[in-house]
């Protein structure tokens, strides 16, 4: 039999079933080996999907249990999620590689197999949400990834007790978000009688302008806003990211919120469609407004932070603001901008948090004061943070530049000068906190008696793979931009 034929499902099933296998074997070395192998395999599967889908241009439909939609659950791999899947799988693979060292440093040796099991479940859950074509199946996989994510956060970097309330709040808000989503899906099911996204999309227009439809839209959006930590529903994110074990922060900062953003896009544009009654106000007012506010407030908050994990967590809020802005424009180029941003930001934040992790593994926490002059002792690690920061600001020849370019272009195409000014403002404010780090790490001298930092290629290579990707996609953005636009085209055809 041809495995590639089943790539759409294997990409999920492999990591999903590796988790129990890890538990069965209960050996931390085998555990990491399995995790590494399966994430790599998953990455290859997703890559294959990406290539085939972009080659043929039409979606792959995989009927689980051979039951056709809407009777059964189907996976639909189209240009949109074929674009997101390799990103998640790839970043996961790199993070898993880094996990080898970071987990040894930060997590009790007796918990490793449990850790890797939860780790794999998170990854599988995220991929599942993206790949599935069934509204309720999204919820199930959302819970798989969330549940294990709560636990991963709760472990806490170096058993930091503050990770516990962080994880609990994350759990409460995450569950509320998921429940809201379920309510929304329930209402949709009530008026359409089906759970298959495509089927719902086809039947919604017939229902026309109903309060029920609007309520469904509102609840699903709210749920996803919570999950993607859109300002002002972002309060769970910062503690969760900053107290979690470094490698967990890296994985989540890079992928978790992106998945929710994608699901939101899929539901808003793929199911309801821009012409759905009430949509224009949701996008043009709510998403755009919250996006701008988040972009500004997130950056300002980042400037005030002295803990680097918190700082970059705050900047994630800002970045999510940018993505929201892209969606709020409700144009093809706006959506494409969000897709580009989604991809690049995943790379950038992954790189930064992995680098931070390499330091946190030695210092416990990474703060402005305890990385003074670190550049001389761990040049590669600090350089990775430096490059990441430059990409966050959006300097040329980094992927961040491309994101900003297309976002601003999309904004200006709509003539939304005010939004453009705010966006630019927040990106220039980003310069301040990045510069603070550079000055502390490069220009200051390491104080006497400060612990000596060390680095080995094994510690920085994974961060640098992502940095290299950031630079490569800043210089060769063609692939990403094209893919993003074709993805956007799937949801908003026609206009420009």
């Amino acid at each position: 039999m041809n495995f590639l034929l089943h790539a759409p499902i294997l990409q999920i099933v492999v990591p999903l079933l590796v988790a129990p296998l890890i538990i069965l074997l209960r050996n931390r070395h085998i555990a990491w080996g399995l995790a590494m192998a399966s994430t790599l395999a998953t990455f290859l599967f997703t890559l294959h999907l990406f290539l085939t889908v972009n080659e043929t241009g039409e979606a792959i439909i995989y009927e689980l249990g051979n039951w056709p939609a809407p009777i059964g659950i189907v996976y639909v791999i189209d240009v949109a999620n074929a674009y997101v899947l390799p990103l998640i799988a790839g970043v996961s693979a790199i993070a898993t590689f880094a996990a080898r060292g970071l987990v040894n440093a930060e997590i009790d040796i007796r918990d490793h197999s449990l850790f890797y099991a939860a780790w794999m479940l998170t990854i599988a859950g995220m991929l599942g949400q993206v790949a599935t074509g069934d509204a309720f199946n999204i919820f199930v996989f959302l819970e798989i990834s969330s549940l294990s994510a709560y636990a991963l956060v709760a472990i806490g970097a170096g058993n930091d007790r503050r990770a516990l309330p962080a994880a609990f709040n994350y759990l409460i808000l995450g569950t509320i978000g998921a429940t809201f989503y379920v309510i929304g899906v329930g209402l949709l099911y009530m008026v359409t009688g089906t759970l298959n996204l495509v089927d719902i999309a086809q039947r919604l227009p017939a229902i026309g302008d109903t309060h029920t439809g609007f309520a469904a839209l509102a609840f699903i959006s709210l749920g996803m806003f919570l999950k993607m930590a859109l300002f002002p529903l972002h309060f769970w994110l910062v503690p969760a990211y900053s107290y979690a074990p470094s490698v967990v922060s890296a994985l989540m900062a890079a992928t978790a919120t992106k998945v929710s953003v994608y699901v939101l896009i899929r539901i808003l544009f793929g199911v309801f469609g821009v012409d759905f009654p009430g949509m224009d106000s949701l996008l043009g007012v709510v998403l755009l407004g919250l996006g701008v506010a988040g972009a500004l407030i997130g950056t300002v908050a980042a400037i005030t932070e002295t803990d680097l994990k918190r700082l970059f967590a705050q900047s994630s809020i800002a970045q999510l603001g940018y993505m929201a802005i892209g969606l709020g424009l409700a144009t093809k180029s706006g959506l494409a901008a969000t897709f580009i941003n989604l991809f690049n930001h995943a790379l950038i934040k992954g790189a930064i948090f992995l680098a931070l992790g390499a330091i946190a593994a030695q210092l416990g926490r990474v703060t402005m004061s305890n990385i003074q002059g670190a550049a001389k002792q761990i040049p590669m690690t600090i350089a990775a943070i430096l490059f990441g920061g430059m990409a966050l600001i959006g300097l040329p020849l980094t992927a961040g530049f491309i994101s900003k370019l297309y976002l601003l272009r999309a904004i200006l195409e709509e003539g939304a000068w005010v939004v453009a000014v705010f966006t630019v403002m927040s990106s220039i404010l980003a310069l301040i906190y990045v510069w603070k780090i550079i000055e502390v790490a490069y220009l200051n001298d390491r104080p006497k008696g400060a612990p000596v930092l060390t680095e080995t290629p094994a510690q920085w290579i994974s961060a640098w793979v992502l940095v290299a990707a950031t630079i490569y996609f800043g210089v060769q953005a063609e692939i990403i931009v094209d893919a993003a636009f074709s993805a956007a085209d799937l949801f908003i055809g026609g206009n420009q």
């Binding site: 601003l408 272009r409 063609e478």
Partner: protein, 481 residues
Amino acid sequence: MSELILALLFLPLLAAVTTLLFRETPNIRDGASIGIGVLTAICSIQLFEMVQAGQSETLVLFAFAPGLSIGFTPEPLGALFALVAGCLWPLATLYSVGYMRGAKEKNHTRFFTFYAIAIHAAMGIALADGLITLFIFYEILTFSTYPLVAHKGNADAKSSGRIYLGILVTTSVTMLLLGIIAVWAIGGDLTFREGGVLADHLDPRFAPILLALFAFGIGKAALMPFHKWLPAAMVAPTPVSALLHAVAVVKAGVFSVLKVVIYIFGTDFLLETRASEWLIWIACFTIIAASLVAMSKTNLKARLAYSTISQLSYIVLGAAIASSIAVQGAALHIAMHAAGKITLFFCAGAIYVAHHYSDIKDMDGLGRRMPITFACFALGALSIIGIPPLGGSWSKFMLMMGALDAEHVFVIFVLMASSLLNLYYLGQPVIRAFFAQNTGETGFSEAPVAMLIPLVITAGMTVGLFFYADYFILSFKGVTP
């Protein structure tokens, strides 16, 4: 022709590499970079002549996103800028060798490496075929000059470096980038085109705003109120101030403004919409204000810095007037002012190395001890002031002509006034040096010969430029004669 473009772009990089390779043997290191500099100069001259002869060719390095590519198209203005930077670089390098050794500066290798990279960036800006390429090299230039500004590494240098980077990056990443993307969104294209990209897409009411984004966004043009970085940059060793902050960097700024006015907006468009009226006022204000500040400075380099700010606004002014003669005058002024100002800085550096004087008060009677230096200083100063038979007079004259046929009579008076101010604050040091009584010991003591040669040559240029000015009068297409 494309070989020439590649040569101009990568010879400086090559110089940077050789500098790094031979960091152990200073003489080979510096010799190599001077040699490469001479090569670059020759290439730039050839390119300029080919372009003046009307040849043109586009070289696309690579496309990094759909419709966005790093590409180069030499056109008269760019070739002129390349010529100026290319010819002055080897001189400046030779001078730097003398200076860095004379003034006992450290980290020579780092210095020369970034020096070369900066020239590479300047060349990129000069030959850029569109706004994106221009923007990218603009940023490279900013970041490659930061280590040079903060070269001394003391607290003073650091804080000045912060101001330098802060202003240049902020302005460029906010306003300039916004403007570029606005052009992209409105005109749908970012490559320079004769007659402009926006001509028939842009609503005239927005034109002034968009122009403002560029005029202020290009912080390197040092238009007030975004000029503070230039005085701050003076903490750098004098060769940096000489080549970069009198020629490469600041000229890159005004050059970009000219490019935008000519090839993005289109001078005709600006003329008929009068969208650049307000910029004339800003430029005039900067000219006068900067001159007044310069008078108040007694530190020679600071005074030269403010004089530079004022002179740069001449070029912005020409762009703002946007009549063909004015634009040509502005372009000419790039060359003229370059020759003059670099001479002045060379002299300032020579004085510093020879006697560690940087304040004008200390220079009483110094002219008798360093006659060559001060003679050259006088030439440079007169050229800046615009007195025949020195190069500066032409560009000033053309700017006045341009102002006249665009009916901006008050501009004439502004230019007059600024000339008088120049006369005062540039003349003063010379007068004091030659005629004031000095109490200290007398006797001939000049700076090292490696520094004298370049400054004599550049001083000679100021004279030569007067007679061969027509060689630099550019024939723009798409600018109504």
